[in-house]
């Protein structure tokens, strides 16, 4: 019985000490971030956080916003939607943050968005591409493009830039992102005058695609579209090359990972995929971001880091233009964002609070990534 009360007493003392947080100071603007610092998609959350941290440091070194320093409060959501809801409620009602940045995964953004809307606190999502997210209310924004746009642009790229009329699709049925992209790609490609001569499906986690590929090969396509994630994408390309399918293969932003070339190697030559920015881009904003990020965190910034950075800068710019930290004022300023020069291109917020911005196409040559082109919306 003694040990029992001892443990309990120790536990609660620890909790009380840990539970005492910091307070609000007058010379700071509090910004809340919720992200998947741990859990199944931890790399997304950490990259975004690094990008955002860089944006905050830079802004503060340049004198802050409205004469005040930005203070970033970050909450981990363990890659779980219900945790995201709690984290955001805590940030808004206990820490009194003026705006929220997050999340990468649409599922967590969808859980948090109604709360931000309810308390009239603007929320900027760096990378949630599900169209539903910004439909949650007029305080919800994003700085990335949405899936329908990506599917459409990739179809235009294949038809116009590459000049192909006969395509096949190999999609991941388990993954809604992949199914959505395939659907939007097909619609646009066919309306342009091209034909999708065959379509096959696989499931995330598969490792043998020869059956589907053989069926697709029989349709004699000029090009293949493989929306999905990088692991399966690389394996599909590799096996297609083994079957002597030498045609160009096109993927979406799910391919953007250093793992793609590790798995695919030389087989990845003559493939194209869309992403949010290229580290090889010669634009001044990109060059300075890549240099600063690499120096600060000792790694090359991926797309999530760039989007986190842009989300931060767009928000700070909006607060500056709003002139105060009132939620509605910041929202109006965010909605009026136009031609903002970010790392991921020139960003304009449209009437649906989505970002209108260019899409970057990368290609693989000699097993390394090369910038191909930017497609303007």
């Amino acid at each position: 019985m003694k040990t029992y009360s001892g443990i309990l007493a120790a536990l609660f003392t620890t909790l009380v000490i840990l539970g005492c947080g910091g307070g609000d100071k007058g010379d700071e603007i509090l910004i809340g971030e919720f992200g998947s610092l741990t859990g199944t998609t931890a790399t997304f959350g950490q990259s975004t956080h690094h990008g955002l941290e860089l944006a905050v440091e830079e802004t503060n070194n340049a004198g802050g916003v409205l004469g005040k320093k930005i203070r970033l409060l970050v909450e981990d959501d363990q890659s779980k939607p219900e945790e995201a809801a709690t984290a955001v409620t805590k940030l808004i009602t206990r820490d009194n943050v003026k705006a929220i940045i997050g999340e990468v995964a649409s599922s967590r953004s969808l859980a948090a968005a109604p709360i931000c809307q309810q308390f009239k606190i603007p929320m900027v999502s760096p990378a949630s591409t599900n169209p539903e997210v910004t439909k949650k209310g007029d305080f919800i924004f994003r700085v990335c493009y949405i899936d329908p746009f990506q599917g459409e642009m990739l179809a235009r790229f294949m038809y116009n830039s590459l000049g192909f009329k006969k395509a096949v699709i190999l999609k991941d049925v388990k993954n809604d992102y992949s199914v959505g992209l395939a659907q939007y790609f097909r619609q646009t490609f066919e309306s342009l005058g091209g034909t999708v001569v065959a379509e096959q499906a696989y499931s995330e986690g598969d490792s043998d695609f020869k059956a589907q590929l053989t069926a697709l090969k029989a349709a004699e396509p000029e090009a293949m579209f493989v929306p999905g994630y990088y692991i399966e994408g690389a394996l599909i390309v590799k096996q297609a090359r083994e079957l002597n399918m030498t045609m160009p293969i096109v993927g979406g932003d799910g391919w953007d990972s250093s793992k793609l070339l590790e798995v695919g190697g030389q087989a990845m030559n003559n493939t194209y995929f869309s992403t949010h920015y290229s580290t090889d881009d010669t634009a001044a904003a990109v060059r300075s971001f890549v240099t600063k990020y690499s120096a600060r965190f000792n790694e090359r910034p991926d797309a999530m880091a760039a989007l986190g950075y842009d989300a931060g800068l767009i928000l700070f710019d909006a607060i500056r233009r709003a002139g105060n930290t009132d939620g509605t004022a910041i929202r109006d300023a965010l909605a009026a964002t136009s031609d903002f020069t970010g790392v991921t291109g020139s960003i304009t917020i449209d009437e649906r609070r989505n970002a209108r911005k260019p899409l970057v196409i990368l290609t693989v040559e000699n097993a390394s990534l090369k910038y191909k082109e930017s497609i303007q919306p």
């Binding site: 909790l15 939607p81 709690t86 409620t89 009602t93 969808l110 539903e132």
Partner: protein, 316 residues
């Protein structure tokens, strides 16, 4: 007499819930949210305790039943939601909660009848498999939103609903366990063969515990869905089942009070640890290890006195 008393207690509990909900707006929304999660976790842990703790069957499928309840109720309210009248909302939501529970219970029956004839580890694996099957099926059903999740669920869950359900679960479990019927649960748990010899149908007992547990998991899922207002299949993975199992084990298998306390503790603990940011789950896990080493029978289970141990030994 007992039933009469329980009824009174239940009414008292619901009235208290209403009384507290009058002051709902005075509570910081963050604490309010944690309070709701505590309630939902108590329902989940207490209902699993019925299966794992009292009937002695190790189930790892609780998140699956929760998913069934969540999705069923979400479909019901999205079809029946009348924003204009709060009376109709209440009626629609009670129906949704009930249906969520009933459909989960039917699934519990379907899984339970064949698999509860199995013993020990086999049951754990079957239920684990069931949970994953549910998740994958939902992932592939377009009308439930597939992998993208079900959006636009009305926010109907409030303190009164959660508090009343908690009261019902606790009363039901404690009454059941103290009844003759409940004694047969304990008999099956302690020695299945002996229980069979005195005429207790062990499969029947297990199925009843399993179905009741599944019912409340379904109701908890429904409450959860109407609080978070957005559900997707990934929220109901086997990790969620493990979380609930941990609550039961930390509280002490078969201890009603212990499991309630541990559900409260394990919901508050990660919130308290927010100040250590991404390291909080490390601290959290360390605390769990320490608890398991120092109190292997559960944090809130009284250890037997020396006298009781001796008495037990002589009995054997």
């Amino acid at each position: 007499m007992r039933l009469h008393k329980s009824g009174l207690m239940l009414i008292a509990a619901i009235v208290t819930g209403f009384a507290i909900s009058r002051f709902e707006h005075l509570i910081n929304p963050y604490y309010y949210q944690v309070l709701i999660y505590i309630g939902i976790n108590i329902i989940l842990a207490s209902s699993l305790n019925l299966i794992n703790g009292f009937a002695g069957q190790f189930s790892l499928g609780h998140a699956g039943f929760m998913a069934v309840g969540a999705y069923t109720s979400a479909v019901v309210t999205s079809q029946l939601h009348f924003a204009s009248s709060s009376m109709l909302n209440t009626a629609a939501f009670s129906l949704a909660l009930l249906l969520g529970g009933i459909v989960a219970a039917i699934f519990g029956l379907l899984v339970g009848i064949p698999s509860l004839r199995l013993k020990g580890d086999y049951l754990a694996i079957t239920t684990l498999g069931f949970g994953e099957i549910i998740r994958v099926i939902v992932q592939n059903l377009d009308f439930l939103g597939g992998a993208r999740g079900f959006t636009g669920i009305p926010k109907l869950t409030n303190f009164v609903w959660v508090f009343s359900t908690v009261a019902i679960v606790i009363l039901l479990v404690s009454n059941l366990i103290n009844s003759t019927y409940g004694k047969s649960f304990l008999a099956v748990r302690d020695d299945e063969l002996a229980a069979e010899t005195i005429g207790i149908s062990s499969t029947r007992v297990k199925v009843i515990a399993f179905v009741t547990g599944a019912f409340f998991a379904g109701v908890a899922g429904a409450l959860y869905a109407h609080f978070v207002t957005y559900i997707n299949p990934a929220q109901f993975s086997f990790l969620k089942s493990f979380e609930i199992v941990v609550m039961v084990i930390i509280g002490g298998m078969g201890s009603i009070f212990g499991v309630i306390l541990s559900a409260i503790l394990l919901t508050i603990l990660p919130e308290m640890l927010r100040s250590v940011a991404q390291y909080r789950m490390v601290v959290y896990s360390l605390l769990l290890i320490v608890i398991m080493i120092t109190r292997p029978r559960g944090l809130f289970v009284r250890t037997r006195t020396a006298k009781q141990s001796v008495a037990l030994k002589t009995l054997r």
